[in-house]
Subunit: 206 residues, 2 copies
């Protein structure tokens, strides 16, 4: 049991060391010996825990994807208007993309997926489903404008959100992601809310 | 003069051959000898026209970027409502991303830019500026809803549009990009138009 906990701790330590390098230099720019130098562990120790560089990248992408279901289920709780939950969730995800090294590295590795010889999980579908359900809840509560189809709209919201990250990453290293997300919601909520008041909703959420 | 025209034709031929492979297999997955085999020209001929694989990739990305100013200036002409021009332009760009091999390859190489040892041009800024100007024109014409700030809104529209391409490429190889773009505009135009009628505007444009 003790050994198993220690192995888990080492795996996590190596995962984060690798994530730091993948985030900075990408998949092709990072070797197992770079990770060894950065972590102070031998290449042999790294291969013991992760059989290959591909497997290590895959583990980071899977860890990135595993972050969301727990977060989403927290925002599924009743008690707040559904559109406020949706906006609040988006800010929490945006901060994770900016601040969490495994999330950042997972996103970069996913973007470089065609250069990685491993089957990576398919993204976006889980998000589109989660956003659809929050929009359906908003429709039931009378928060959503008439004629807003939840599934097609959820698709557009998820695209906008991920596009925001790509652009913010390219132009400003994600530094202003929260202000940009605020502006994006100001645009989207005008069409989504039954009684449009983006500024009021954004004030309540932040 | 004749020699120069022939050289231009050869350069373009090699550019398109390389674009086909970069689009399919990415930067790391494509070698000069693959391009030689695919084009039927020797590696020496390729190096004569493009000094390195990096330079060839850079030429494709620059050619991709060079596509837009001409297209944008066509949509700047007076004579149609500005929001219709904006939506029409977006559909033309979406089709280019789906059908034009140099545009497709340029987009993929740009996404893989961190693996390419060359300074690639910065994207998005030209688009944000062009969309801002169309929104300002829409505001002058009374087409735009009050309280829609052109620059911040243009940023959100450009993010949404590029996010749509990322998601459509990942989930369905861009096959349904026109329907998805139609749905995205249905969402965005609800908040943009002074007198919301997304379906009417989309009918006039397509």
């Amino acid at each position: 049991m003790y050994v198993q906990i220690r192995a888990e701790t080492t795996r996590r330590f190596l995962l984060e060391a690798a994530a730091t390098l993948f985030d900075e230099k990408g998949y092709a720019g990072t070797s197992i010996s770079d990770i060894s130098a950065h972590s102070g562990r031998t290449s042999g120790a790294i291969y013991f825990h992760y059989a290959s560089k591909e497997k290590l990248a895959l583990a980071i992408v899977e860890e990135h994807f595993a972050t969301w279901p727990h977060l989403i289920s927290r925002y599924r709780q009743p008690g707040r208007p559904a559109l406020e939950k949706l906006v609040g969730l988006s800010f929490e995800v945006a901060r994770a993309f900016r601040d969490d090294i495994v999330v950042r590295a997972g996103a970069r590795l996913w973007a470089e997926r065609k250069a990685i010889d491993a089957q990576l999980p398919a993204p976006f579908l889980g998000w589109i489903e989660a956003v659809t359900q929050l929009l359906e809840e908003a429709a039931r509560n009378g928060e959503l404008a008439a004629d807003v189809p939840p599934a097609a709209t959820a698709h557009g919201i998820v695209c906008s959100f991920f596009g925001l990250h790509t652009v913010s990453d390219a132009l400003e290293g994600r530094r202003h992601i929260e202000e940009r997300l605020h502006d994006l919601w100001t645009l989207l909520l005008r069409g989504l809310q039954a009684e449009p008041d983006p500024a009021g909703l954004l004030d309540r959420v932040r």
